[in-house]
């Protein structure tokens, strides 16, 4: 067993109202630059719909992710090593920018400089951000927002193509009757990342400490294999620098113990961030499971129980500080994925072991129960209604459980039972034991789950320990060897960190780590720096 920690996310889709605040704040933070106009590290798409970029889930076309070869071995769908190098000159699987959309900008001077007393209102004409030429805006990152145009191209949703014809026919696109939900997407920071595996220059990597997948901008040579290999299409080409860019899970914030920008600004409070422990040695086997319906359980099995003494011992042996062990035990992500088992991975069949999981949307179910004249406190009634939803469970199953309807229905069942249980308890104080029996959870568990999902307190949603340094001993040695200038001298590593950390969120005068000087302390000139050797009383 090789234990590793991963910063993972769960999104509760029931609470997503599609306001795009996450997308906007993310864009303002990370991709408001030349060459990334079309790039959304975080986007919110409407389902059913074809998504961003168009039809990204159609792996017969893009060849993203992994598949099993005829001998049952895991290989990249776009081909092995030799085949990849043979495609360096032109990558046949690469989406063109038109598959995303042509970014537009406006010449605002026309409005600002318009003389007074004009007979006609001056208008801005959209201009392409790529060519500067006037253009007609015909597509965008959330063009299908709230089913816009879905009656025309919604049938192109790759998830519908994989469903049975009968079930697909039940997904109705007519406006008044239809049902939709929003799907916010960021990079999945997979345990078995296809982008990293396809990067010819080895510029992409998964961080050992927290599992965040990053692109080394200095090492990226622009072979653009990551873009096509990622089945979620969450690696992008910056056409100005010629390099790949992707969601960084806001690592400077995570390292400082703060949630990502998308999570922090989520008005629906639907995002959960925490760490999970997993066994790196089990990843390959879990990704290579033959039956796609077994992938969900296999992926859950890769996670290690943070309250298991053996796991805690292994984590300590791997050099993780106590803070991390505690955070793993309190992790909302672990609870939603492994304890309550209500979170599901997006497209487990891509075999990348994604680390952003989703609580599937339930919203219309209880209404539907009432409309059908059934009893929404009755487990059987709810279950029947779940099976008859207008968006069939089959559709959610295509998204979250590789088409395994039973698994998805089971999760919806738990969520519905939780609501009915809490309603009964709150309204007339009764305890609906038969509901608990139906989902195999205790009353305490259901109430804790209710608290986590519905009350969703800030410090329960985000349990992020500050980064630790695996090479603390080496740094200490360096500091001892060079007494005059160790870490916090001009240009020393401590300075960079201080600068980048400060530019993020430290408020002047704020105590860095309450309860003692610790690793960081304030120096005589008022600036913060690393305590070189607390025993020596340096700083």
């Amino acid at each position: 067993m090789r234990i590793r920690a991963q910063v993972a996310m769960v999104m509760n889709l029931d609470k997503c109202i599609g306001c795009h605040t996450c997308s906007v704040t993310c864009k303002q933070t990370w991709t408001n630059r030349d060459g990334t106009e079309y790039v959304w590290f975080n986007n919110v798409e409407t389902k059913p719909g074809i998504g961003y970029p168009k039809h990204y889930e159609d792996q017969d076309r893009w060849h993203g992710g992994w598949q099993l070869d005829e001998k049952g071995r895991l290989k990249l769908r776009s081909g092995g090593r030799v085949k990849r190098l043979s495609r360096l000159f032109v990558n046949p699987d690469l989406p063109s920018i038109d598959d995303y959309y042509e970014p537009a900008t406006f010449d605002k001077d026309i409005l600002a400089n318009a003389p007074a007393g004009l007979k006609d209102t001056p208008v801005q004409q959209p201009r392409s951000a790529l060519t500067g030429e006037p253009m007609a805006v015909t597509w965008g990152a959330n063009w299908e927002d709230s089913l816009g145009g879905t009656h025309e191209h919604g049938t192109g949703d790759p998830n519908l193509a994989r469903m049975s014809a009968e079930a697909a026919a039940r997904v109705k696109f007519e406006f008044e009757k239809t049902f939709l939900f929003h799907l916010p997407r960021i990079c999945e920071h997979c345990l078995n990342p296809a982008c990293v595996s396809a990067c010819p220059s080895g510029a992409m990597y998964k961080r050992e400490e927290d599992g965040i997948v990053l692109v080394d901008q200095d090492r990226c040579r622009g072979w653009r294999m990551c873009v096509s290999a990622c089945p979620y299409k969450k690696v992008y080409v910056n056409h100005s620098t010629g390099k790949a860019e992707k969601c960084t899970l806001c690592f400077p914030r995570i390292e400082a113990g703060q949630p990502t920008v998308c999570s922090e600004t989520c008005v629906g409070r639907l995002r959960y961030l925490g760490i999970v422990f997993y066994d790196e040695d089990a990843v390959l086997a879990a990704a290579s499971v033959t039956d796609e319906h077994d992938l969900l359980d296999a992926q859950r099995a890769v996670f290690l129980d943070p309250s298991d003494p053996a796991v805690r011992e292994a984590a300590r042996a791997a050099g993780m500080p106590q803070e991390w062990l505690d955070a793993a035990e309190r992790s909302p992500v672990w609870r939603l994925i492994s304890e309550y088992k209500v979170a599901l991975p997006l497209h487990p069949e891509y075999r990348t072991l994604p680390m952003v999981w989703y609580v599937p949307p339930l919203s219309p179910v209880l209404d539907a129960v009432g409309e059908a004249g059934r009893d929404d406190t009755d487990a059987d009634d709810i279950f029947h209604t779940i099976r008859e939803l207008r968006i069939p469970v089959e559709y959610l199953a295509e998204l979250f459980t590789a088409g395994d309807v039973e698994a998805t229905a089971g999760v919806l069942m738990k969520l519905a039972a939780m609501r009915s249980y809490m309603r009964a308890r709150t309204l007339d104080g009764t305890v609906a034991d038969e509901l608990l029996d139906g989902i195999g959870m205790t009353a305490d568990q259901v109430e804790a789950m209710y608290r986590l999902l519905a009350i969703a307190k800030y410090d329960e949603r985000y349990v992020i320990p500050a980064a630790y340094s695996k090479d603390a001993a080496a740094l200490e040695a360096q500091a001892t060897a060079n007494q005059d200038c160790a870490l916090d001298c001009e240009g020393g590593p401590g300075m960079t960190t201080q600068a980048s950390a400060e530019s993020f969120h430290l408020v002047e005068g704020e105590q860095v780590r309450p309860g003692g000087p610790g690793l960081v302390s304030r120096r005589s000139d008022g600036r913060r720096g690393f305590t070189i050797n607390p025993l020596r009383g340096g700083a």
Binding site: V90, P200, P259, A467
Partner: protein, 247 residues
């Protein structure tokens, strides 16, 4: 003059080539990329890029064979002068035509597609012009002189001079007798080498052969020390609520 062109210039260009790469590697890792524009335009690239690159590989191989392998070696391993000549001219013509067709397609692509035109830097334009000139001269030498014309045995003159450069004994007189187009191609070639480190051509040295045997998933530790730990979220929240409570 002969000395200047056939002795000083090559060394000057080689020094710029080596020093330029050293400088670029040290100071511009971020710019060291293919500068892919495939997301912007795919149709012409799909045909032009493989043609160009495969053509280049063939042409480069031909240059190695013609310039670096002495005629005596090919004779020793039993390749007659005629057989060599045939391979060289035919191979050179075919790969040269591929290279030319690819280059023409890529240049047209840069010119007619507004998106690609916008991301074309001044250095790219210089590079394309230099490439076009080199290919034109090379094709005149191969097709014009060797295929259609009477032929010229560069292996007795140019190749000997070229190899001489590497053991610091280039004989400039060997070059002064060569046909003009070969002379221009040789001078252009060295100037091209001097231009190389400052263009996107540096991506050639990053051909990712190591990909063939490295493990799929790359793990890497965070560089440098852990960053400053900041207040936990709940403390940030409480601090915002009660400014007076902040320490």
């Amino acid at each position: 003059m002969t000395n200047l062109v056939w002795t000083v210039l090559p060394y000057l260009c080689l020094v710029v080539f080596v020093a330029g790469h050293f400088w670029r590697w040290r100071h511009d890792q971020f710019g060291w990329t293919t500068h892919t524009s495939q997301v912007l335009e795919n149709r012409l690239l799909r045909l032009g890029s493989p043609l160009f690159h495969l053509g280049v590989l063939g042409v480069a191989g031909g240059h190695v064979m013609g310039l670096l392998v002495p005629a005596s070696v090919t004779e020793k391993i039993g390749i007659s002068e005629h057989a060599y000549h045939l391979t060289a001219v035919l191979g050179g013509t075919v790969t040269g035509l591929m290279l030319m067709a690819g280059l023409v397609l890529l240049i047209i692509r840069r010119m007619i597609n507004g998106r690609v035109r916008r991301v074309t830097s001044r250095m790219d334009k210089v590079l394309y012009a230099a490439l076009a000139a080199m290919v034109a001269l090379g094709m005149i030498a191969t097709v014009g002189v060797n295929l259609i014309g009477g032929g010229y045995d560069y292996r007795e003159t140019i190749a000997v001079w070229f190899r001489g450069i590497f053991w610091f004994q280039p004989d400039p007189t060997l070059m002064s007798g060569a046909p003009l187009v070969y002379q221009l191609h040789a001078i252009g070639g060295f100037l091209f080498l001097a231009l190389w480190p400052f263009t996107r051509l540096v991506h050639v040295w990053s051909a990712p052969l190591a990909y063939l045997w490295r493990p799929y998933v790359v793990y890497r530790g965070r560089r440098g020390p852990a960053p400053t730990a900041t207040a936990a979220p709940e403390q940030v929240r409480d601090a915002a609520r009660e400014p007076s409570a902040r320490r």
